[in-house]
Symmetry: C2
Subunit: 222 residues, 2 copies
């Protein structure tokens, strides 16, 4: 039986992009099921009852939610391009940094938009971005993965592409390029990678009021 | 060369406990380096410059921070007791739930203490605990891992043991047993497991003011 691979997706989502990029790197073809985020399908709610969010990968009927969990699964099932290293120690380092960027760092960024640019939120986001900046500076590589992108680059793709759109859309510009030259250089390199260019969604800036309302609801102080 | 395994730890930490339990399940011996959380060692700051927290495992000089990252490493390196399943799909399910409990669920609980029992924080914690309750009810197993504990049980150990101490210490009792009978039953089963009993730290209730100040600083609304 041929594998049946369905990816529940939503155009423009940075989290869906991560999974699509992983599939392209592996050379695996899949079918996309486009979700309407304002009117989610019964299938999406059944496959991801906890978070009710895309992406969800359904492989031969087995649902897997959460982008980084999906990518570890893809790397476990399909050989070819290594998204995580094989060596257990190197693998743990990659898991640590992907998790740091996915949770601590991106969350701090989202809270800037959620708080409509509050000073304490910007200070926290700068602090976490500085951790990433220092890592790139110390290692001096083209990508987090060295000469080629790996799970950390994929996790950080939000910073390379979506962050700029959100800054422009909300008018909250808080990541000066001269403060984070290594991140800027990494983002330039990342966005030049052929497979990345193939999968990146179009640059679309939603209206400011809509963006701010969305982020306040999701990432504002509760 | 024999493996050199040093675990930077702090008595009573639920996150250190997770790693100790994983080592005991594997039958691997290690050396503990006790940290003074109020005066952290230069080694701890060097090995975990991002979070500056225990646990950190140092294996033949290679540092690994973050309890769940450490446990995946332990499961990758040492065979024997399987902490994660071998099958990629089952493994992804375990990763999903361990991450949900570690981040979403426990974070919601910690915010109850951080907000000194605010109503909205209690409602959110109840909502996330209900997700866990439903999972146990649907599956009807003794443990999240089935007949034996796995990574999900280890991630959830905070709920089985530390949550009750914090409720008692702070006086904020918000998890009624009759509302979560399956979680209560699971916790009873978990705390009866011989290896769990061997590693659990003593029941110690810090003073209320100290607890509330700690949680407000770490998990209060910012």
């Amino acid at each position: 039986m041929a594998d049946e691979l369905k990816l529940y997706a939503a155009s423009g989502s940075p989290f869906v992009f991560r999974v699509e990029l992983a599939f392209i790197l592996k050379g695996v073809t899949y079918k996309t099921v486009e979700e309407n985020i304002k009117n989610k399908s019964a299938d999406l709610l059944k496959y991801n009852p906890v978070y009710k969010q895309v992406p969800v990968l359904v492989h031969n009927g087995n649902p897997i939610p959460e982008s980084l969990v999906i990518i570890e699964y893809i790397d476990d099932v399909w050989k070819g391009y290594p998204i995580l290293p094989q060596d257990p120690y190197e693998k743990s380092v990659v898991r640590f940094w992907a998790k740091f960027i996915d949770s601590t760092c991106i969350l701090a960024i989202l809270k800037v938009f959620g708080s409509n640019g509050a000073e304490h939120a910007i200070a926290e986001a700068h602090k976490q971005l500085q951790v990433v900046e220092n890592k790139l500076a110390v290692e001096g590589n083209k990508f987090f993965g060295g000469d080629n992108i790996n799970l950390i680059d994929i996790a950080a793709s939000f910073i390379a592409y979506w962050l700029g759109m959100l800054e422009e859309g909300t008018g909250i510009k808080f990541v000066p390029k001269d403060k984070f030259p290594k991140i800027t250089e990494w983002a330039d390199n990342f966005l030049k990678v052929e497979v990345v260019k193939d999968v990146l969604p179009p640059r679309v800036i939603p209206p400011k009021a809509q963006l701010l309302a969305f982020f306040k609801q999701r990432f504002g102080d509760s």
